[in-house]
Symmetry: C2
Subunit: 330 residues, 2 copies
DNA sequence: AGCCAAAATGTAATCGATTTCAATTGCTAC
DNA sequence: GTAGCAATTGAAATCGATTACATTTTGGCT
């Protein structure tokens, strides 16, 4: 079994308290500190974090609960969160819920048992709505999705603006029959839909938004059917990377291409969106900044719990590529 | 502050030992168990995992140390590991090293301090070589990459075979001047290179393999230069998804396309490989199975530490797509 | 009813660290 | 030389659970 603090104390000829202080940040004479460090290294001493956490009553741990770890958006965010966390001397527990409210509940319970310092969370719409701000002993920062305003700290994209940017761009390019695909489990989908509708209305246009399960398969099926309908749209917007992927696959399977048969645009600047054809027009999210900001918000709230609830809203960036070049008839 | 076991005991009118047993798996009468459960729910009791781990001396935690969480291969593997872990009642700590030996050392140290039950690890070549099997108190299962044979449990792809399959396929399609890009930080790169060379030699061909940093940027730069050389290869193999991405970008930037100007093939069936042009020919790795198997190996070794060291070698699957259709001159 | 083994419950030790509080040491100043 | 004070060090309590061991209760059997 590995060495304990008692062994180090014995080896260095001091008390356990001195060892704790020498290895930590207590007041210890230079001579003793050196003796202790030497003994610790000699014995290969590793402090037991469970014991430390139990006694000190802070875990230096944050939970990061994301809805889909395979989504590059969340892996990028989690990289940022981890970088910031380790820089602040904290650890991260990464949890993946698959958009499943049961898993969300399970992981939140786990976070309580771990006595985490705080949680960064991208909840499903149901959970976001249900979540009471004071239900937990730790602060929660929402990312990507937010509940009712003022409920908890959050850092999100300006979803309405981003959707509007896409619509404006398509309209400017001459498209008039614009369809939209939106995820039906997140508040994000709803907000992007709202921006979509508002922008179309501003131009006196009526678009058709469809809410579907947030998977590429669902999107592919829906779009395949959509393309076969009488009134095929001349442009399509997908509200996240997975839906965009499904839409693209449906196009390819139908032997259609962008922008020739149909303009295609969406959210998330995933690696492949720059590779296919002449590129897909997308809204790029400031992924790293989202993660870093979430961690910063969490740290500052831990520092001062009295702060009032804040929402940070970040703007996306429209990347215009070939899939939305001017409408053929224009 | 949240309720402790003592509070539950008081509320239920029993001793703390009884609470522990009732909530755990001790012998308790049905009546008491119910009373305890009620009291626990009433108080919103959450056991403190730090205290439990300290006393019980097992953490039910495994560490998963991967070299790049943005690589879809590792996110898929980590999904599998987490699924299997939670099914076995264990938690996962996910760590990301960026192929950086210092970070590897840091995280291994963290694993010791966490007193994890075991670790699943994709080490850099340097660390794999240095790692002593008995250096840690916990078992280690290597994934994707392995050190010297018999050093630790491992689950890996049959890299030589997979590289050979690619070369055989290209040769059969009529290609003769085959270049290869291999990562220079992992044993995987070296093995795939060995299979590459061996397969070419078997046909009396001499290929050129280049070892580079495992990033898309490095691959793009190298391939861009390569394409400008006098003796341009007629086919290119990339030993992982990132390198393949870089190679593809270099082709696109040079205004070339596959297979017309150059055949392109590689490892990892990433989402975009099926989308670009007529698709890229790749070796698909059984990603989920790799993760699940690694977790199973770890669990069985924890169950019986006396087991002899095992390596599980899984075969990849060649997915033939448009990027390697027959050589124009054939 | 009486006895014994088995089952249920309680008491107290324990895990390995940090932290409180007390004791000691070393200086400075008079 | 010693009082006073700050800086070090040590002894022991403590964090919140599990578990070894002791004790009580239960139930079966004669």
């Amino acid at each position: 079994m590995s060495a304990k603090i008692k062994d180090v104390a014995a080896a260095a000829g001091v008390s356990v308290a001195t060892v704790s202080r020498a290895l930590g940040s207590g007041p210890v004479s230079a001579a003793l500190r050196q003796r202790v460090e030497e003994a610790a290294k000699q014995l290969g001493y590793r402090p037991n974090l469970s014991a430390r956490r139990l006694r000190s009553q802070h875990t230096q741990t944050v939970g990061l609960i994301v809805s889909d770890i395979r989504n590059p958006f969340f892996t990028a965010v989690s990289r940022a969160v981890e970088d910031a966390a380790y820089q602040a001397g904290m650890r991260v527990i990464l949890c993946n819920t698959d958009e499943n409210p049961d898993k969300e509940a399970m992981y939140l319970r786990l976070m309580e048992e771990e006595r985490v310092s705080g949680v960064i969370f991208s909840p499903t719409r149901d959970t976001a709505r249900r979540l009471r701000p004071d239900a937990y002993d730790f602060p929660v920062v929402m990312i990507d999705r937010a509940g009712p305003a003022g409920q908890a700290d959050a850092v999100v994209l300006d979803n309405r603006l981003a959707a509007r940017q896409l619509v404006e761009h398509l309209v400017a390019q001459g498209y008039r029959h614009i369809g939209g695909l939106f995820g039906n489990t997140s508040s994000t989908g709803a907000e992007r839909h709202a921006g979509f509708e508002a922008a179309l209305a501003a131009h006196g246009l009526a678009g058709e938004g469809r809410f579907i399960a947030p998977t590429a398969e669902a999107a592919e099926a829906v779009v395949t059917q959509w393309l076969a309908e009488e009134q095929r749209p001349d442009a399509l917007i997908a509200s996240n990377g997975l839906l965009l992927l499904g839409a693209l696959r449906a196009l390819q399977r139908a032997g259609l291409s962008s922008p020739h048969d149909l303009a295609l645009a969406g959210f998330d600047n995933e690696v492949w969106t720059g590779l296919v054809g002449n590129g897909l027009t997308v809204i790029e999210q400031p992924v790293y900044e989202i993660g870093r900001t979430a961690m910063e918000m969490l740290l500052s709230r831990l520092d001062d719990p009295g702060l009032s609830i804040r929402s940070v809203v970040l703007a996306g960036r429209l990347l215009v590529r070939g899939s939305t070049s001017p409408h053929p008839s224009a």
